[in-house]
Amino acid sequence: MEIPEGLRYTAEDEWLRLEGDSGEATIGISDYAQDQLGDIVFVELPPVGRVLRKGEAFGVVESVKAVSDLNAPAGGEVIARNDALESASELVNSSPYADGWMIRIRLTDPAEVDALMDAATYRKQLPEVQ
């Protein structure tokens, strides 16, 4: 189970990566999340320009067996989205932290990021993986 240092995590298994000091952040789902979902066959993402509140459902990821909401780890305006996932949603399985990223936002309140878990805390709260 890969849980990279330097990223921040939610209890719903999203990750957020601050892009330097730009006030921008990239969001995706964790290796644990993709593993639990299984083969991901559809990803629905919000349009660029939409403003998300922290915790807001911003999209949907569907595997063969389940539908799961994507929740914003922090509030912000969507400034980019990974359109490659439209035709290659399996990138979320094969590369959850890189090619399988979902959206980039301009943070409304960078302090919201401080409330997210670091890698060690996130790992600790995961159920035992079989």
Partner: protein, 373 residues
């Protein structure tokens, strides 16, 4: 639906450890702790479509009947005229209730004139066995034996299944007719083989006694067959548009609406449970038919999604999906739904409500997937 007590402890497959060793993730299904997937649903699905997969279907109910009149007993509780089966033949049939609704769908195997086998869905196995037992009780010289706890049942499916069966069981699949069956010796024991399955591929289902189950599983794996879980079993059967009890067919749906009229024999005049209702239902005009629905945009269909007629967007829903999935073969969302007959012609545009948005879809010919040859 299911007669399973949700609070009862899950039943454990005799080959549970084999599945765990093969990397299975388990999930409850019809009271059993079943392998949901091993390496991944899509990969396993593709293994069956392109090579061969093996499924542990020991959870399914199976009862054997012996006696010269066993066929007649089965006929008295099922819709198809199984008395025309010759030894070595098998047939799909239904248990209907007095209202003509489908209590279960079953496969009836005539192994010998006086030796028959019926395979039931796991969720209905207890009720089905009771139904057979009651029918046997009224007959003379017919006995029933529940094979559920005494045997293991494995299904081997896919274009390479024939080669694996030749290697493991030592006979030529082509020598068994489609939907044929045979009883044979294997490792000093009896083995029942049926050229049947639930994937749309060629192959067979094998019943062997408990002690030899693991050896049979190991032999098929050694022959290069991929373990496949319930997840892919569902996507495979849906692509083949095979009904699943509790979804497409239930005690409230009748065989004619479901497109299963071919499994109902009324012409022989023989009485069976539900016959009167089925005679009446058959004569009535259909108000709905089971249809295959394919999403026109990328996405996934799921059971219970609501279907609209895009020509009449303001009118109420015209149906609801009984099953839905993402088809790995078609790379599209697929599902089945009961729709007004006027909307069941292939090419008819539909709209499926996915999270509040009406997504374009259309009716396609049944099945979604048909193997070549």
């Amino acid at each position: 639906m299911s007669d399973t007590d949700p609070n009862a402890p899950l039943l454990v497959l005799p080959l549970h450890d084999r599945h765990a060793a093969a990397g299975a993730r388990f999930a409850p299904f019809s009271g059993w702790d079943m392998p949901l997937q091993y390496t991944g649903i899509v990969q396993e699905h593709e293994a069956v479509r392109t090579h061969a997969g093996i499924f542990d279907v020991t959870h399914m109910g199976r009862v054997a009947l012996r006696g010269a009149r066993a066929g007649e007993v089965i006929r008295s509780i099922t819709t198809a005229d199984v008395t025309t089966l010759k030894p070595g033949q098998a047939h799909y049939s239904l248990y209907c209730n007095e209202g003509g609704g489908i209590d279960d769908d079953v496969f009836v195997y005539c192994l010998a004139a006086d030796h028959w086998l019926i395979v039931h869905n796991a969720g209905n196995a207890t009720a089905d066995a009771a139904r057979v037992a009651a029918a046997v009780e009224g007959a003379t010289d017919v006995t029933m034996r529940d094979l559920g706890e005494a045997t293991v049942m494995l299904a081997v499916q896919g274009p390479a299944a024939a080669a694996a069966i030749r290697t493991v069981l030592g006979f030529d699949l082509e020598g068994v007719p489609v939907r044929g069956c045979r009883e044979m010796e294997w490792n000093d024991s009896r083995l029942i083989f049926g050229r049947t399955g639930y994937t749309g591929e060629d192959g067979g289902e094998v019943i062997v006694d408990l002690e030899r189950g693991a050896a049979l599983w190991d032999a098929f794996l050694a022959a290069g067959v991929t373990p496949v879980g319930l997840g892919a079993r569902d996507t495979l059967r849906l692509e083949a548009a095979l009904p699943l009890h509790g979804h497409e067919i239930t005690p409230e749906t009748n065989p004619f609406d479901a497109g299963l009229g071919w499994a109902v024999s009324l012409d022989d005049g023989a009485p069976f449970t539900g016959r009167d209702a089925l005679v009446r239902l058959k004569a009535e005009p259909r108000t709905r038919r089971l249809a295959c629905v394919r999403l026109a945009e990328r996405g996934v269909l799921r059971a219970e999604y609501v279907v609209h007629d895009p020509a009449k967007p303001e009118t109420p829903a015209v149906g609801m999906l009984t099953s839905g999935a993402f088809s790995p073969t078609l790379q599209a969302g697929i599902g089945m739904a009961y729709l007004p007959p006027a909307l069941t012609e292939p090419g008819t545009p539909l709209a499926v409500d996915i999270r509040g948005r009406n997504v374009p879809a259309e009716v396609v010919r049944r099945p979604f997937y048909k193997r070549a040859g």
